[in-house]
């Protein structure tokens, strides 16, 4: 059956760079371990399984450079192995504890398989999960794109040099990691403003994604709404996110993830279990924290946490099937309505944070798999398509200039600029301005190895200070002290290193420690921050 429309799925995978080699059990490193086990491994498994059965997933995956660096960090890989082993050890105890409770036992066994699968996949690829993604891209099954170097919200970087540095470092990082030049660029937080077009295009990227309401204020009016691709005046391709298909998945209140049969995120053995029993699996501080073993289902809207009922993996999978069917029926209606009114085939662009699938919405990877399988099995007139394929095959898209926007709360830049976090910007700009000034000063000078290393590390620290994650964590009041400390440390490190180079007294020992801890972008050249970049 010929296609009546196209679906473009974009999964944006990102975590802030968290690497603490000095600590064997650093709390915030658990973000990475949890995301690997619950999201990255299940998604890679889904993609590999589909590909092996001749069903092309056709999904675009954005891997942020900071996440890519963590996935390739051997020290983190070693810690990840220990994390999985400790969970499997705990699961062994849980199997014993659940012997007389069949409903609980079923879920414990389910987790045992989840963690065993994670261990097996990591073993298969020697701990490097970039390898299977590269292979899938090489085989044309998926398209991998990137985002700004440290996930900086680009409209909040007033200095063009800072924007260019974020883009140049990301492009170079992608090429080193995936052995090809990047084509697509994921705007962190979908945060867009028109001045970015030229920087993005000049950095070698061919297309971006914007939030749906960026088209409301587009000049001229976007003729196909969100159902059509566009291009900017400098030839940058542009896809707008379809709000309807996104909301069905995103919203805990109105979307699929709020279904009573799905796993409850907040009930976790780390909080529920006897303290002495779970104590060995908590961090060195002994503070209760999630252990990833969550035995309850959402149960019902507004149900008190204490009133939650046991999770049933099989019942949840039945709901996955129903939700996948519902999702596709709604996309069919969208395409039919568009075709009836416009006489052309629409493109539906559905973009999600990858970590939604699996980590928060535990059943998300199964949903993704069910959607892709159903299109094939039920011969639905829809096709999954990759962004580059679409741009290469479609007619010249209409030219527009979208309006400034983001996918954050209220649709603009409020989550990253408000009374809870605005105090960080003087530090971000102090480091950034100093970095630019120093890069300009030394860009054409012959430098000693030590000074080059110091300048390159200062560039890494500056990029890390610009990350959107610190402002966001401060805003939501979660891990706020950690976020504040990281931001201040990166800005201070950059300023200190630059001062040491200028004063010709670089502390090599301190520099080496920073190079080990903040080891993103190993081949970064500080000149990416120069005013007229050589890149």
């Amino acid at each position: 059956m010929s296609s009546r429309g196209s679906l473009m799925f974009v999964l944006h995978a990102h975590l802030p760079y968290v690497n603490h080699p000095e600590d064997s059990a650093f709390l915030e490193e658990n973000w990475f371990f949890e995301a690997v086990v619950e999201t990255y491994v299940p998604i890679i498994s889904v993609l590999e399984r589909l590909a092996s059965e001749g069903i092309r997933p056709g999904v675009a995956v954005s891997i942020s450079p900071t996440l890519g660096a963590m996935l390739e960090n051997e020290a983190l890989e070693d810690k990840l192995v220990l994390y999985v082993e400790s969970r499997l050890e705990l699961i062994e105890k849980e199997l014993e504890r659940a012997q007389d409770d069949p409903a609980l036992l079923k879920t414990v066994k389910f987790y045992q398989k989840l963690y065993e699968d994670a261990a097996a996949l990591m073993h298969k690829y020697s701990g490097d999960l970039i390898t299977p993604l590269k292979a899938l891209q090489y085989a044309g099954q998926i398209e991998i794109i990137t985002t700004s170097a440290t996930h900086a919200v680009l409209p909040l970087l007033a200095r063009p040099e800072a924007v260019r540095a974020q883009l140049a470092a990301a492009a170079e990082d992608y090429e080193e990691r995936f052995n090809r030049k990047p084509s697509g660029f994921w705007l962190p937080e979908c945060a867009y403003e028109p001045r970015l077009n030229s920087y993005i295009k000049l950095s070698g990227f061919n297309y971006i994604f914007t939030e749906s309401h960026s088209l409301d204020s587009a000049e001229p009016q976007a003729p196909g709404g969100v159902y059509s691709p566009y291009r900017t005046s400098n030839g940058l391709g542009l896809f707008a996110r379809d709000a309807a298909s996104s909301r069905e998945v995103w919203s805990a209140k109105f979307g699929y993830p709020g279904d009573p049969a799905y796993r409850e995120f907040y009930r976790d053995l780390g909080y529920d279990g006897d303290y002495e029993y779970v104590r060995p699996y908590l961090g060195s501080d002994g503070i209760r924290r999630p252990l990833g073993l969550k035995y309850y289902r959402i149960t019902g809207p507004g149900a008190d946490l204490s009133a939650k009922e046991y999770y049933d993996p099989e019942a949840a999978l039945l709901r996955v099937e129903a939700h996948a069917s519902d999702f596709l029926a709604k996309r069919m209606k969208q395409t039919d309505d568009f075709y009836a009114s416009r006489g052309s085939r629409p493109l539906i662009v559905s973009c999600y944070d990858a970590e939604l699938f699996g980590h928060w919405w535990f059943e998300g990877p199964a949903f993704l798999e069910a959607v892709i399988r159903k299109i094939r099995a039920e011969r639905l007139p829809l096709q999954f398509i990759l962004p580059s394929e679409y741009l290469n095959s479609c007619q010249e898209p209409p030219e527009i200039t979208p309006g400034s926007s983001s996918w954050g709360e209220n649709g603009y830049f409020d989550p990253w600029v408000n009374e809870t976090n605005d105090f960080i910007y003087p530090a971000v700009y102090a480091a950034t301005d100093k970095m630019i000034e120093t890069a300009n000063r030394f860009r054409n000078q012959d430098l000693s190895m030590l000074n080059s290393r110091a300048l390159n590390q200062a560039a890494r620290e500056t990029l890390l200070a610009q990350s959107s994650d610190w402002a966001f964590l401060l805003y939501i009041g979660s891990h706020a002290e950690y976020a504040k400390g990281r931001l201040e440390a990166h800005a201070a490190n950059a300023i200190k290193l630059l001062g040491e180079v200028i004063e010709k007294k670089v502390d090599e020992q301190a520099l080496a420690a920073l190079e080990q801890q903040n080891s993103v972008f190993p081949r970064l050249d500080f000149r990416v921050f120069a005013s007229v970049s050589k890149f």
């Binding site: 309401h213 400034s404 105090f423 966001f472």
Partner: protein, 129 residues
């Protein structure tokens, strides 16, 4: 109000950032000599932040603030679009221009609020809590 734990190097800086269709965020810092001029009352403690349209450089608005505040939220002027700001201080009855900002583009208001996504917020509230 949260603050940085350590003071930053004293430098002159005025930065204007977009927040939403209704507000800009602006922050300022002073070099040691200028900060001294405020401390010793050479300059009056009240400063003026003057906003103008970047395209035609016409004045759009002026807002008073205390020099020590270091930051403020300014209403986006009526025409929106690209704006820039300058910081003035009063000395001997004369307003002196001390700092100039970058250009910042105010977003145009678009769509209905409940139609606009808040994807990342909803997710991160859950994940990182």
């Amino acid at each position: 109000m949260p603050q940085l734990a350590k003071p930053l190097p004293p430098e002159d800086r005025l930065v204007l950032l977009p927040k939403n269709p209704g507000l800009f965020f602006i922050f300022w810092q002073f070099s040691e000599s200028r900060a001294d001029a405020f401390r010793t009352a050479s300059f009056s403690p009240e400063i003026e932040l003057r906003v103008r349209y970047a395209e035609d450089k016409t004045a759009a608005a002026a807002h008073k603030a205390q020099w020590l505040a270091g930051r403020a939220y300014l209403p986006v002027p009526e025409r929106g679009g690209n704006c820039e700001a300058a910081l003035y201080a009063l000395r001997n009855g004369v307003w002196e221009r001390l700092l100039e900002s970058n250009q910042a583009a105010a977003p145009a208001a678009a769509g209905m609020a409940d139609e606009r996504a808040c994807a990342s917020l909803e997710f991160h509230k859950k994940v990182l809590s």
